[in-house]
């Protein structure tokens, strides 16, 4: 598993970092910490406030493990060629993490595009980022960044709005295809939070759709085979927004928004952002 953490210097990024750390502790995923700044924002490579934040996130993350338990312990020394200026390279001795990859990167330009490009080029399976509470969803002082990332990413996205323990995951599905990857991300989240899982079938047109019911049974069987108890229920698609707005403080809202999802077919693209914004706490968009 490869996780991309996009962090800025605001407090919600520290909350998101906690989620990243917990997930990495379980999964030993390859991890990239990404900072984004406007082109020309600083005469040096990184603006001081962002540099400080990235240093803090790196140290917090790496110090979360005790001694030799860390798969990210810096133990792998090797020589690498680094660019000094145009047409000049220098061989430098660098130290890299041992068992699993850990790297800190900086991109410049439009924040949402930078995050999406990094995830695409790095082959990320999950993007984690924080944002402000409420419907505005600010990231690095700009509105709409988390919504755009959630709407346009090829992989799953976890948006962390505040530091809350998660005791229940509300996973909303429709009758269409559920990718193996989305189930796997959901399973890792259930395992990490030791959370109760409730799968909500979203009925697109009123009345009981046979396909929604069939999907719920399949999901129920999948988890029964793995000894995991889940609750299921069906709601109308018109009620989805009010359900999201009414979720509890310790709920993680998980939305299947894959390419073949009826949720993304029925709702225009910005609806993903709207649902994400309506979420009270953390939101997982699954692909």
């Amino acid at each position: 598993m490869r996780i991309l953490f996009a962090g800025d210097e605001h407090p919600y990024s520290a909350f998101a970092l906690k989620e990243l750390t917990r997930l990495a502790m379980n999964t030993w995923a390859d991890v990239t910490l990404l900072g984004v700044q406007a082109a020309g924002a600083s005469p040096g490579p990184v603006a001081p406030a962002l540099n400080l934040a990235l240093n803090r996130y790196r140290e917090t993350f790496l110090n979360s493990w005790e001694g030799e338990d860390s798969p990210y312990a810096m133990s792998n020394w090797q020589y690498e060629w680094s660019p000094v200026k145009e047409n000049l390279w220098e061989e430098r001795l660098v130290c890299k993490s041992g068992k699993k990859c850990f790297q800190v990167r900086l991109r410049t330009g439009n924040p949402a595009a930078a995050i999406l490009n990094e995830a695409r080029e790095d082959g990320s399976d999950l993007i984690i980022l924080g944002c402000t509470r409420g419907t505005e969803c600010l990231w690095a002082g700009a509105s709409g960044v988390p919504q755009k990332v959630a709407a346009d990413a090829d992989c799953s996205v976890l948006l962390v709005k505040e530091d809350q323990p998660i005791s229940r995951i509300l996973a909303c599905l429709d009758q269409t295809y559920i990718s193996q990857e989305s189930l796997e991300i959901l399973n890792q989240m259930v395992t990490m939070h030791q959370a109760e899982l409730e799968v909500i079938g979203v009925n697109p047109e009123g009345g009981l759709k046979k396909e929604v019911y069939t999907r719920l049974i399949e999901i129920g069987d999948y988890y029964q085979d793995r000894g995991i108890k889940i609750n299921t229920r069906i709601i109308e698609i018109a009620d989805l927004e009010s359900l999201i707005a009414a979720e509890g403080q310790q709920d993680l809202l998980a939305l299947w928004m894959g390419k073949k999802s009826i949720l993304s077919r029925f709702f225009p693209r910005d609806w993903v952002g709207r649902l994400v914004a309506r979420g009270q706490t953390s939101v997982l968009v699954m692909r």
């Binding site: 598993m1 490869r2 338990d69 796997e184 399973n187 890792q188 395992t191």
Partner: protein, 129 residues
């Protein structure tokens, strides 16, 4: 002289995982057998020496941890890669204590597992001289 193909065993109770992995590893030049039940996989290990074993952990009957322990008893130099959809820090640590080569949480890209398998191959070929 052409090197002999390395043999890989994949054990995962989800057929879709085996279906994804088998062709991609075969394309890389490995001989691949897949199993969805751990007891059948263990029988295969008793009859065939696999160079690389890729196993899921959470399975009905004999789980992956027990399977890898049994497989290592039969062929201690088989290299094991654990793949799991329900990862915990304990299972990661225990896997390495039992001598696995790598621990990969699901979901993963095919390229991720291909890279790990290539590292195992380099280790095996290096050892074999």
């Amino acid at each position: 002289m052409a090197q002999s193909k390395l043999k890989i065993l994949i054990l995962d109770d989800e057929p879709i995982v085996c279906k994804r992995l088998k062709p991609s590893l075969e394309k890389q030049g490995f001989e691949v057998d897949t199993f969805n039940r751990s007891f059948e996989a263990l029988q295969a290990v008793q009859n065939t020496k696999y160079d690389i074993i890729i196993t899921d952990l959470k399975m009905e009957g004999m789980d992956g941890m027990r399977f890898l322990q049994e497989a290592k008893k039969i062929h201690p130099d088989s290299e094991v890669i654990v793949i799991t959809g329900f990862a915990t820090m304990e299972t990661a640590k225990e896997s390495f204590k039992k001598g696995v080569f790598d621990f990969i949480a699901k979901p993963f890209n095919l390229s991720e597992i291909q890279r790990v398998v290539m590292r195992v191959e380099a280790k095996i070929r290096g050892t074999q001289g």
